[in-house]
């Protein structure tokens, strides 16, 4: 992202005199501020694009209910909802909604979209969290191992694993896992976030967070925790392995890249052993590009979440999105997509900041 890359990736031609003149820390603050304001155009562009693209197909009511209601009733509802006003007015109103987080009600089932975003957003967050754990635990160490053994058999095995993890669509991975563990071996539940009994327990909590794992701990009943975790294994693996494959390739390529640098040779020339060269000297400089790219993978993760949730009937944003899409309820779709846009922009911001913090050239 040319706009979102830490300033160090700017060609090193930047004059040394000028760099030395900058006061310590000032570069970082300037970068933070500039980077923060870049969130807004990103969200704005995405939201605008989605709004107008959806409207090309007509007003949401006609799309959702056309043919199901008599024309006069439909016209009445269109008028009541304000869809006969000029598109610019509606657009401004929509921007206001995005800003205040109040998206009105869905067309097909009259649910408050904001409530829906909150309740289902937490579910997606939880799934993404499980997947990221799998991805980090599997992807990053294995990427280092592959780089260490580059072009020997462990590397070959790991690379094929990474490509397979990427080549398998999450929904197919999900179906296979289900088939093996739920249907044939019958060790793990088929779908859902928890069994009905546990869900009742969780919802009766006074301070329900919406994140089942936390809620299950709150109940103090190990059976609830076990139930929630057993439901999380398969979706977490399906989505996590996809992301792990991407991380593995990313770490491998970047670490191999830094391993060929002079400073690694310099450390080698002083007797530092090969494993430490990978773990210390090559990994940390490689982390800066890795983290930037990981930020971009959030998009892949969210796209994958839509498919995973559909496969496992995991009642999150993706599951709802697929549902409302099939109902052609574009008011609800708009709301969900707008929230996803905000999440993407925010995570990218955070990731860029982390990358900048790792890089001493930005910090000082």
């Amino acid at each position: 992202m040319s706009t979102a890359v830490p300033p160090t990736i700017v060609p090193p031609s930047a004059d040394p005199v000028r760099r030395r003149r900058a006061r310590p820390g000032s570069t970082l603050w300037r970068y933070l501020v500039v980077r923060f304001f870049l969130i807004f155009p990103t969200v704005f562009i995405l939201v605008t694009m989605v709004f107008f693209l959806m409207r090309i197909t007509g007003d949401p009511l006609t799309v959702a209910l056309g043919g199901k209601l008599p024309p006069d009733q439909l016209a009445e509802r269109i008028h009541a909802a304000g869809y006969d006003r000029p598109i610019t007015v509606q657009y401004l109103e929509f921007l206001g909604q995005v800003f205040t987080g109040n998206f009105g009600k869905s067309i097909t089932d009259g649910q408050s979209i904001s409530t829906l975003l909150i309740s289902h957003g937490t579910a997606t967050l939880e799934l993404a969290f499980y997947a990221l754990i799998v991805a980090f635990i599997v992807g990053i160490p294995l990427g280092m191992v592959a780089a260490y053994f580059r072009d020997r058999w462990p590397d070959a095995v790991l690379r094929v694993f990474a490509i397979l993890a990427y080549a398998t669509p999450v929904f197919f991975a999900g179906l296979l896992l289900k088939l093996v563990f739920s249907v044939w071996l019958k060790v793990l539940p088929v779908a859902g976030r928890a069994s009905t009994r546990t869900e009742i327990n969780l919802h009766s909590l006074h301070h329900s967070t919406g994140i089942y794992l936390i809620d299950a701990f709150q109940t103090g009943d190990p059976a609830n925790v076990a139930d929630v975790l057993s439901h999380a294994v398969l979706p977490g693996l399906a989505l996590g392995l996809l992301t792990a494959g991407i991380f593995l390739r990313l770490v491998r390529t970047n670490v191999i890249g830094t391993l060929s640098r002079d400073y690694v040779d310099a450390a080698r020339s002083r007797g530092v052993n090969e494993f430490r060269l990978v773990r210390k000297h090559a990994l940390k400089p490689a982390l800066i590009p890795i983290i930037t790219v990981i930020g971009l993978q959030i998009a892949v993760l969210l796209g994958g979440a839509v498919l995973t949730e559909t496969t496992f009937e995991w009642k999150g944003l993706g599951f709802e999105l697929a549902y409302y899409l099939s109902k052609r309820d574009f008011v609800a779709v708009q709301g969900i997509v707008a929230l996803l846009a905000v999440i993407v922009a925010l995570t990218n911001f955070i990731v860029d900041i982390v990358a900048a913090l790792i890089d001493p050239r930005v910090r000082y």
Partner: protein
Amino acid sequence: MSDVVEIRELEVTFATDGGDVVAVDKVSLSVTAGEVLAIVGESGSGKTVTAKAILGLLPETAVTRGAIVLNGTDIVGLTGARLRAIRGVDVAMVFQEPSLALNPVYTVGWQIAEGLRAHGTSTRREARARAIDMLGRVGIPEPEKRVDYYPHQFSGGQKQRVVIAMALVLDPELIVADEPTTALDVTVQAEILDLLRRCRDEFGTAIILITHNMGIVADLADRVAVMYQGTIVEDGAAVDLFARAQHPYTQKLLAAVPRLGAGAARAVARAKERSATSSAPVVSAHDLRIEYPGRIGVKPFVAVDGVSFTISPGEVLGLVGESGSGKTTIGRAIGGLTRITGGSLEVFGHEMLGVKERSFRPARNQIGFVFQDPASSFNPLLTIAECVAEPLIVHGRAADPRAARPRVNDLLEAVQLPRAYGDRFPHELSGGQRQRASLARSLALEPSLLIADEPTSALDVSVQARVLELFAELQKEFGFAALFISHDLAVVDMLADRIAVMYQGKLVEEGTGAQVLGNPRDPYTQRLLASLPVPDPAEQAVRRERLRSLREADHP
């Protein structure tokens, strides 16, 4: 005599796409304690490969044979822990590019301590104390504070000092320094060479110095080995070698080194010829100022600050300065590649302040430009003939490359390239050949002004000599005016009628070669001149003393 290292019949073979290449062929060498051995050679001579072989740092595509005996251990064939035990303790390395040899995300203190840690000799506290001590000894001010700095907080010369500290920390008996000053400016180079001399004198370390620069050899080396195409052609004491070179290659190499003061006589003769015709200058700058805009909130960087000069028709102006002095920016501004932000710059009567590309374009056929890097100044997908024909086609002198070919052939002949080379692609030519083709392209329209931006700095000495000679011949034949930009005073002296010296965006001194080199008035010019090592050990020792007294005068 106790040999620190003895290399016997070393042979290194690389696998490449074009088959196996023998990079080092039966090389035998030895270095005794406290001795500086310089291995001299041009690119491809195998000198760097030899250096890396001593530390076992060659890539996996290389196969090494022979023996490298370090303190009684043959390291050829050693792997794993046994090789690591030797690295850093018996032999350490100083790299060419200090900014690449330091890890950007760790503090220099951590990196210096890393060598100690690898050999498990000291605690964290001891390692840190040792790092601070080492930094102080290599001449880093305030080492207690700077030990926690990151590499980017040091200047280029300081970075090289840190790299040397990293090499010295385990007290090795031998340091292999691979072109340790090539990436540095000449004034900084003198300081680093002093430091290396101190390593030998104070620490008693033997040094293998890899270099292509005969001046550096004369400055530092006790003994010299000359490498050519993988073999050692001559080996002997430095004093003897410079006085009585035996091998023809060594003689040729020494003859190719540009020497200060050689151009003065020629310039006088040329000035006589020219004074008959005096006309309007082709370029005149008055109070020229060029700024590069900063990012939001950063002050713009002033690259050129109030510079005035003129270039008369047929005159060669040499522009000298170190990196960041603004010399290249001036060349680019005359070529219309960089906008000027203040003062006045007239090129063939066009005022460049606020000039429109459209109105300047007609003047472009009077300007030729030769770039620094011959590797990237040709479109890799076009043949040499197509590249040379470009200016002819653009200015409507030929319809297509085919129609331009006769003229292209003439041009190639003028720069002494065979016609058939026109059908080759740029990557199939050597650096020197490409730079000659670049001259041919810049001369295609018979320009009245040629701008040459460090045209020989990427070339080997012997190749550089031929290109410079060619440049002088062509200049005589075509009579163009030229702006010759270089960091090397000796190179500029060979060609220029007048020399201008730039320092930090300002023009500090201007005059004929005799004036500027014979009797420099500006302290910076004096220092620059004194820093330039000359290929003669005796004379260089005298110059070194002069530089020391100059420096002491600067900082009493």
